[in-house]
Structures are given as structure tokens and as C-alpha cells.
């Protein structure tokens, strides 16, 4: 379909350019506040418009049409920019717009407060970087040739780097930013090579040409591995995850929300585009690698999340877990597709898409919740928080929605994608390969373990931050979120609830992606609108709206019946102290206490250093630090190797001019020798 009058592609392009314009306006805003009060809400409006346009495009796009295309005469000579909009990019554009709407509204309140930026970038610059980041993610999704894709990808990485180092006068944050920059470029290099391998085999770099080409298995496999390194590194898959728990907490909370919520999804998008759209002839067993790495990352991420004492690091590790699950589902879809099981492949692909959408909303909600806590108390450490549900009820209750959702509890949205993934795993014993059909179903057990652990982590997170008593005195000035911030939080929480309650509608939209990628489609079984029954009603069905209604009716009846027996008001008394005198806040369980069973159970995962007091210490201290084994096993040796090899080269770098002239001469002679 060419770009005709009905094409939503120009509209989306204009909306993305409007984000850029807002960024420019912010950079040159005359007032000192950088126009935060006006510009961020208008950015939110654009995000909303983007989400609506993308969803509309998804509904009107015929299932077998390739999508809308547009060629712009921009860029290098003879290398025009290709843009395209199909079902896959529309889904992720809707996520980008929907999450950006909530986060920008919240940001209007968050970035306005002066104490947010005592050491950081001026608000106008921040506004420019923020909107450039949003627009570049949009262009990543629209790009339809490798060149445009990589330029947008790099813009996204750089703008997010500058956002991460907003508080650039803090040394730890500069270090985190540097690590992020290095890892982002290692990943970008791998993606560049992946496209180079494909492009060399196909002879062209536009996605259309790559799609039409047929690749030999070696080329396809190499591109897959490079893509997995590049996109997997961006998604925080183990062992390329080390930047994530450093960079995400360092950024201001709305930026963390966008990075965890949306930017990681760009990696999922890229992987889907690569594996299901561009590379043809990919052997099925590559999917097994993705399943394995994904499941391991999921377990690794959630185990580390359980041991964290910093709330933003905890959420960052939980992102590793969620992206691990997404990649495991992606690998499962590849295996099923290769095994010729279209229904199961479609289910797994739906789990990928649904979990991407879910995680985008719930993780943004949680990060914004921690942003409010950080603003109100100035604390990120779980050991100093507590009891905030009394001081900031809006933030607490909305964060609870996000926490329950990410713990995979019905009737919220996290459960739906988990359910879809488990339904897909139920087909895994039919894969016609010995051993694979035995090993794959065990993945379902691992998924269940990870989900149950994420419930544990969320109870720890919510319970320690918001429940109990305040662990630190001097939180007198704690205030709830500002009204505009509340609107942003309510928007994201509503999305979580609706995505949970209307799964059949969401799956109906997402299914178009599976059809467009020719993965498979679900049978039309005439299930009513309120029921999700992807295969058939008798085989598996889930209707959250109905059972929520039944639950509410039953609870109301119970309340009525209980009141009928005896009507008394509650009498307030002191909590029971076990007969040992008054309780104080330090008697509560701590975040470390909550992490202790996990540290004990999963000890091999951690590089733990314990410092125990001797019996004769007058001032005994106990210290335990938890490190990531991959630093010791992989990164530090690698860094050491680099340093040693560069120190060898330092010897060549003399101070005398004649030596350098000699090097130049020798190089010239060698090159001439090669040419002749």
C-alpha cells in the first residue's frame, strides 16, 4: 500500500516531529523553568494522539497487507530514508505513545520542583533531551531500512545517555552513564554487524529487500547471534545486563520509567523484526538459545531483585527478569514456528507482545511511584523508608496496582501474559524432537518459579516502602504527589487494570501482528467478548471481568452479612507487643531480612562478601555486600586484558617527533607494498 490519503504514516511522522519541536522550544525557552509546566503536558497530549493513531492504524490494517510505506529523500545521496508502518510497529508505537502520555504528565510535576535538580542539567536542556529521546524511539519503530534504523537507534542511545547523567556532578552517576554508553555501543556495533551480514548477502539495506532475499543458514545464524547480542544487550539479558542496574537507578525517575518501560521494548521490537520478518531460513533450534538465555536471565534478575536494598535497583533487576521472560517466549515462538506448529507459535508470540505491553505500563508506574517517594523523602534505600501509605496514599495505592500487576496476580494485566505463555508451554511436548520435548516443558516450571518469586519481591518492595512504620525519623515534610503527577499515575494504573480486564480485545489487536508476520493465527471459536479463549472454550478460557464481578458481589454480601450479625465500630488499641514493652520501628523486618532467605537459597548466584564481628569487638559491625559474579568472571578480566594490551602499546607512543615520523613512513611503505 503506498502512502495515500488514508495512510496514518504522515500523521505519526508529524506527531514525532512535534515532539522534536517541543524539545527545541524547551531548549530556547526564555523563562528559567524551561517551560516545563506547558511543554510536558503538550508532549503528553502528543503521546496520547500517537497511541490513538497507532491503535486506529492497527484496526484498519488488513491482516495480509504489508503496511504503509513512505520514502523520504533525506540522508546520504542515493540512500533515501525508508519509513514503514505495519502491525508490529503499530503495537510498539501505541506502547510508546501510551506510556509517554502518562510519564510526561507526571514529568510536568516532577521536573518542576526545584529540589529535583540541585546538581544537574538545566530544565530546558532536560526537556530537549527528553523529547528527543521520545521521538528517536518513534523513528526506530518507523525505520524501514538498516541505515535509518541505526541512526535512530544511536540517537535513542545518546539521548538516553545524556538523560541518565542528568545529575552529572555526582561521580557515581557519571560512572553509571559511562558504563551505559560503552555497553550501548557494544550492542549497537553488534546490530550494525547483523545488518551488514544480511545486507551483504541480500545486496541492499532496505527492509523490503532483506525480506525478499533468501539467506543461507550460516548467514541467517550469524545475523541471529549478532542480533541477540545487540538487542539482548539492550534488553539486559545476562551476561550483558550489568549496565542496567547501574544506569536505570541513576536517571531521574520519569527517565527510568521510559527506559525500563519503553526503551527495553525497542530491543524486543528489533528482535521480533529481525527474527520473524527480515531473516528467512533461520534454523528452528536458534530459538532454543533464546529460550535458555531468556529463562536464565529471568531467574537471575528476580533473584538479584529480591536481594536489593535500593528500591530503584530492585525495579531495574525486575526489568531484567521481565525482559528475560519476553525473550524466552520469543524463542519459544521461533521453536514452534520451526516445528510447524502455527497455533502454538501464535500463542507464544502473543505472550511476547502482551508481556511487552504490560511491562511497559506496570514498570513505568512503579518507577514513577519510586520517583514520588524519592521526591518526598529524599531516600532511595529501603532501610530508611516505611509507613508511607499514611503520608502519601495516592502514590501508595496506585503503586500497589503496579506491584500486584507485575507479580502476575489476576485480574490484573501481568497475569494475562503469564497465562498465555503457560498455555504456549503446554504445547511444548509436541515438538517433534526427542529431548527438546522433555526439556521445554520444564521451562514452564521455571516461569512459574520466576512469577512466584516476583510476587515475593513485590511484597518486599511494597511492604517495606509503604507499610509498617517509618524507619527514619525526620520525614515530617513528606507530601503526596502533586495533582498533575497523580493524573499521570492514574493513567498508567488504569491502563494496567484495563489490559487485565479486557484481554480478549487486546489479544484481538495483537493477533494481527501474528497474522502479518505469518506466524499463525488463532481459531475463531465464537467466544463471547468478555472471555479470552485463544484455542477453544473447552480447552482454556479466562474471563477476568466476570470473576471480578462475582468476587465483588460476594465480598459485598459478606460485608452485609457480617454487619447483620453484630454492628460495632472498630476499637483502636495498641498493637500486641508480646509483653516486652512498646514496639518501635527498628523491630520491623528490613529489606535485608527479606532478602535473607533468597540469599541462602540461591547462594551460588551471588558473589557475597561477609564481614563478621569477632566476639571481642566492643563496637561490633556486620556487613554483607552482594556482588554480581559476572563482574569477576567476565568484565573485570576483559577490562584487565584491554588495559594490559593498551599498556603494551603505550611504549610505542614516544615523545620524540622523529619516532612518529618513522611510524608514518613504515606504515606508508607497508601499505604501498600491499597495494603493489
Amino acid at each position: 500500500m503506498p502512502a495515500t490519503l488514508g495512510s496514518p504514516l504522515p500523521t505519526i511522522g508529524i506527531l514525532l516531529c512535534a515532539w522534536l519541536a517541543i524539545g527545541l522550544l524547551g531548549a530556547f525557552w526564555p523563562a528559567r523553568d524551561g517551560g516545563t509546566r506547558v511543554l510536558f503536558p503538550s508532549g503528553a497530549l502528543i503521546g496520547f494522539g500517537l497511541a490513538v493513531t497507532a491503535i486506529h492504524a492497527l484496526t484498519v490494517l488488513p491482516p495480509d497487507a504489508p503496511g504503509w510505506r513512505l520514502v523520504l529523500p533525506l540522508g546520504l545521496p542515493n540512500l533515501p530514508t525508508h519509513l514503514a508502518l505495519d502491525a508490529l510497529s503499530a503495537v510498539y508505537l501505541a506502547v510508546l505513545g501510551g506510556v509517554a502520555a502518562g510519564v510526561s504528565l507526571y514529568g510536568a510535576g516532577y521536573f518542576r520542583a526545584p529540589l529535583a535538580l540541585p546538581t544537574g542539567s538545566p530544565p530546558g536542556l532536560l526537556c530537549a533531551q527528553y523529547h528527543l529521546f521520545l521521538a528517536s524511539m518513534g523513528f526506530v519503530l518507523l525505520a524501514a531500512d538498516a541505515y535509518a534504523f541505526l541512526v535512530s537507534w544511536e540517537l535513542m542511545a545518546l539521548s538516553s545517555y545524556f538523560l541518565v547523567v542528568t545529575d552529572h556532578r555526582v561521580e557515581a552517576i557519571r560512572e553509571a552513564g559511562y558504563l551505559y554508553l560503552v555497553m550501548a555501543h557494544v550492542g549497537a556495533l553488534a546490530i550494525l554487524l547483523a545488518f551488514a551480514v544480511l545486507g551483504a548477502a541480500a545486496g541492499a539495506y532496505s527492509f523490503e529487500a532483506l525480506r525478499a532475499a533468501h539467506f543461507p543458514p550460516g548467514v541467517a545464524g550469524a545475523a541471529f547471534v549478532l542480533g541477540l547480542i545487540g538487542f539482548g544487550g539492550k534488553a539486559g539479558l545476562v551476561p550483558l545486563h550489568v549496565w542496567l542496574p547501574e544506569a536505570h537507578p541513576a536517571a531521574p525517575s520519569p527517565v527510568s520509567a521510559l527506559m525500563s518501560g519503553v526503551m527495553l521494548k525497542m530491543a524486543v521490537y528489533g528482535m521480533l523484526r529481525l527474527c520473524f520478518d527480515l531473516i528467512s531460513g533461520l534454523a528452528w533450534w536458534w530459538g532454543l538459545i533464546a529460550v535458555g538465555i531468556g529463562l536464565f536471565s529471568a531467574l537471575y534478575g528476580i533473584v538479584f531483585a529480591a536481594a536489593q536494598t535500593d528500591m530503584k535497583r530492585l525495579l531495574a533487576y525486575s526489568s531484567i527478569e521481565n525482559l528475560g521472560i519476553v525473550f524466552a517466549a520469543l524463542g519459544l515462538a521461533m521453536v514452534f514456528q520451526g516445528a510447524g506448529m502455527p497455533l502454538a507459535a501464535a500463542l507464544a508470540l502473543l505472550a511476547v507482545l502482551y508481556h511487552s505491553v504490560n511491562h511497559a505500563f506496570m514498570k513505568s508506574l512503579l518507577f514513577l511511584g519510586t520517583g514520588s517517594v524519592l521526591h518526598a523523602t529524599g531516600q532511595r534505600s529501603l532501610g530508611r523508608l516505611g509507613g508511607l501509605i499514611h503520608r502519601m496514599p495516592w502514590v501508595a495505592w496506585l503503586t500497589l496496582v503496579g506491584a500486584l500487576a507485575i507479580a502476575g496476580l489476576p485480574p490484573l494485566n501481568g497475569f494475562v501474559s503469564e497465562w498465555l505463555l503457560l498455555q504456549a508451554f503446554l504445547y511444548s511436548h509436541e515438538v517433534p524432537r526427542a529431548f527438546v520435548n522433555m526439556a521445554l516443558p520444564l521451562g514452564a516450571g521455571l516461569v512459574a518459579l520466576v512469577t512466584a518469586l516476583s510476587g515475593y519481591v513485590m511484597v518486599k518492595f511494597f511492604g517495606v516502602v509503604f507499610l509498617g512504620r517509618s524507619r527514619e525519623a525526620g520525614q515530617g515534610a513528606v507530601h503526596d504527589a502533586a495533582p498533575v503527577e497523580r493524573i499521570g499515575l492514574v493513567w498508567l494504573a488504569t491502563a494496567c487494570v484495563l489490559l487485565g480486564l479486557l484481554p480478549a480485545q487486546v489479544v484481538g489487536l495483537l493477533e494481527r501482528v501474528a497474522q502479518q508476520l505469518r506466524v499463525g493465527s488463532l481459531p475463531d471459536n465464537g467466544a463471547p467478548w468478555w472471555m479470552l479463549a485463544p484455542i477453544s472454550g473447552r480447552q482454556a478460557s479466562y474471563a477476568p471481568l466476570v470473576f471480578l464481578a462475582a468476587f465483588v458481589v460476594f465480598v459485598l454480601l459478606t460485608i452485609g452479612a457480617v454487619r447483620l450479625i453484630r454492628r460495632t465500630r472498630a476499637v483502636r488499641v495498641a498493637p500486641w507487643d508480646g509483653g516486652f514493652g512498646p514496639l518501635d520501628a527498628r523491630m520491623q523486618d528490613t529489606a535485608e531480612g527479606f532478602g535473607q532467605p533468597i540469599r541462602q537459597l540461591f547462594e551460588p548466584f551471588f558473589a557475597m562478601r561477609r564481614q563478621l564481628p569477632s566476639p571481642f569487638d566492643t563496637a561490633p559491625t556486620y556487613r554483607v555486600t552482594i556482588g554480581d559474579r559476572f563482574w569477576d568472571l567476565l568484565y573485570l578480566p576483559l577490562a584487565g586484558l584491554l588495559r594490559r594490551s593498551s599498556s603494551l602499546l603505550v611504549g610505542l607512543q614516544g615523545t620524540r617527533l622523529s619516532a612518529h615520523l618513522l611510524y608514518g613512513f613504515v606504515t606508508l611503505v607497508v601499505l604501498l607494498g600491499l597495494v603493489l
Partner: protein, 316 residues
């Protein structure tokens, strides 16, 4: 929905609400007999509930609304769960709204709310109990899910009534994979319902209790609802076990109202036998240290995995 289906649906919920305290009373009675104690009446749980419902409600200072809401949420989830478990009839119209995976999710929801409520006051016992209960929970949940997974593989569906019907129509030969998973399920049942050897329902010793520690701050009608919900949970687990491993006797799709009536005494017999078995297990086992619980539950998970492997190896 035919009138018969409506009847069996209402019967499932009402029977669960009524029979759950009786079942718990029966287990307690059997335990007392096996331990040479004089047994309390089978109605003792009812008496306790009646007393609690008529008492004043004491709420600790500093409790948030979450604390008061949790008993209703926990009780409500358990009642909704009872509506989707085919204890007497597999013709449950409501069961289509949530399959076996959703049932596991419902149990998890009630556990999370209970733990959050226990952390609400910031008392040492409450938070400790919450932590331990969540630990047992995250270990038991995968095992339970694997059990359901095996049953779903055997019957090619995750809807509990359909699983039950498929297994009922099989011949009476014992499927080896089901035998392994039945052991796993029993272990999960003990752990999830705070029974020995993971937790001692009769103990209020500070250092060992898990479930009771979370209820310490509750009183009056809140406590009554929590206790009733705990009884319902045990009843639900027992009925899930019957649906997966002993489905015979429940009224199926084609049966008339008489079959539904006949299913009631069958369920009573099953429950009585299960109560005796539960009491016997609890009498012969000693409580494990908290940190032995993971080993216990890992064994349960391994049994479920063995069931799965046996199923795949033998080709169903």
C-alpha cells in the same frame, strides 16, 4: 445456563462455605484420636467462628485500610475459587471464567494480600510471618503449577471440569505420571495450608509459627473471616486433589439431577478419608526447621517433574 447447572454452581459454593469448617473440625478430631487425646467436637470450628463474629473488633493503631480490607479479599478469593472447583459436578458454568492456572493465581492473590496485611503494622511477628509465608509460597507455587501442567497434558485442557471429566472416562488403571504428581500435590497441600511438617497449626510458639504469626493482630469478625478462609483453603485444596486424582463420583455433563444428589455422599466419603489421611500424615511427621522447607518443596517439585517426564517418555 440450564437450571441444573445453576443449581450445581450454587451448591458448589454453599457446600464449600458450610463444609469447610466441618472438614477442618473432622481433621482436628482425627488428629486428637490418633494422638490419644480426647477429641473436640466436629462442630468446634463453628463455635469458634460464632464466638468471634460476636466479639468486639479491635484494630491496632497505625493500621491502614489495607489491614481491614484483607480479610474480605482473602475470604472472597477463596469463595470464588470454590466456585470453579468441580467438587460435586463438572457442569459449573462459572468455571469457564477461570481455569486451573487462574486458580493458582487466585491462591497467590490471597497469599499476597494476607502477607501485605501482616506487614501493615510493622510488628516483628507479622513481618516475619509474611516473609516466611511468601517463601513457602514461592516454592510451593511452581510445584503446584507443574502438577496442574501434568494433568493438563494428560487431558489436553487447563479447564478443571474438563480435566476431571477426561480423567474420569479413562480406565481405572493408575497412570504412573499421576501417581508421582499425586505425591507432589499432597506435599504442596501440606505446605500451602500451614500444616505439619512445614507449619504447626496448633502452635503459637513465636519462633516457629508462620500462618498464625500473620493473624496475631486480627480479632473479632476480621479474625473469623481469616480463620474461615483458611478452612476454605484447605477444603479447596482437598477438592482440587479429588478433581485431579479421584474424580469418580462427581456428576458429569450428561447426568441428571439424581447424579448431583448422589455426588454429595460421595464427596462426604472422600473428605472423611482425606481427613483421616491428613491427620495420619501430621501425626507421624515432625515439624521441619524453616530452612528445611525449601528441601521439602523442592522434593515436591521434583516429583511433579518426574510425573511430567514419565508422561512424555511413555507417550501419554
Amino acid at each position: 445456563m440450564s437450571p441444573l447447572e445453576g443449581c450445581s454452581q450454587i451448591l458448589a459454593v454453599v457446600a464449600a462455605l458450610v463444609a469447610a469448617p466441618l472438614f477442618l473440625g473432622w481433621v482436628n478430631q482425627c488428629r486428637a484420636w490418633l494422638q490419644n487425646r480426647s477429641a473436640p467436637s466436629v462442630l468446634q470450628i463453628y463455635r469458634g467462628l460464632r464466638k468471634l463474629f460476636h466479639k468486639d473488633l479491635l484494630v491496632a493503631q497505625g493500621a491502614s485500610p489495607l489491614f481491614g480490607a484483607a480479610p474480605y479479599v482473602v475470604f472472597g478469593t477463596m469463595a470464588v475459587a470454590a466456585a470453579i472447583i468441580p467438587s460435586m459436578s463438572t457442569r459449573l458454568p462459572f468455571a469457564a471464567t477461570a481455569d486451573a492456572i487462574a486458580l493458582v493465581g487466585l491462591f497467590a492473590t490471597s497469599r499476597v494480600f494476607l502477607s501485605l496485611a501482616a506487614m501493615d503494622l510493622g510488628t516483628p511477628f507479622g513481618t516475619m510471618g509474611a516473609r516466611r509465608d511468601m517463601m513457602v509460597g514461592f516454592l510451593a507455587e511452581p510445584a503446584l503449577l507443574m502438577v496442574i501442567f501434568v494433568a493438563s497434558l494428560l487431558s489436553a485442557t487447563t479447564a478443571l471440569p474438563q480435566i476431571s471429566e477426561r480423567l474420569m472416562t479413562q480406565s481405572l488403571t493408575l497412570s504412573p505420571s499421576l501417581a508421582f504428581t499425586a505425591v507432589a500435590f499432597t506435599m504442596v497441600l501440606l505446605a500451602e495450608n500451614a500444616r505439619l511438617p512445614i507449619d504447626n497449626p496448633a502452635s503459637h510458639l513465636e519462633l516457629t509459627m508462620i500462618h498464625e504469626a500473620m493473624l496475631l493482630e486480627y480479632s473479632g469478625r476480621h479474625l473469623a473471616l481469616m480463620e474461615w478462609a483458611a478452612a476454605l483453603k484447605l477444603f479447596n485444596y482437598a477438592c482440587v486433589g479429588f478433581a485431579l486424582f479421584l474424580p469418580w463420583g462427581a456428576a458429569t455433563g450428561t447426568a441428571g439431577p439424581l447424579a448431583l444428589l448422589a455426588a454429595i455422599p460421595v464427596l462426604v466419603v472422600k473428605l472423611m478419608l482425606a481427613g483421616v489421611a491428613l491427620a495420619a500424615i501430621e501425626t507421624v511427621s515432625a515439624k521441619l526447621r524453616v530452612f528445611r522447607a525449601p528441601e521439602f518443596l523442592a522434593t515436591a517439585f521434583l516429583f511433579a517433574v518426574l510425573g511430567l517426564l514419565v508422561h512424555v517418555l511413555l507417550g501419554g
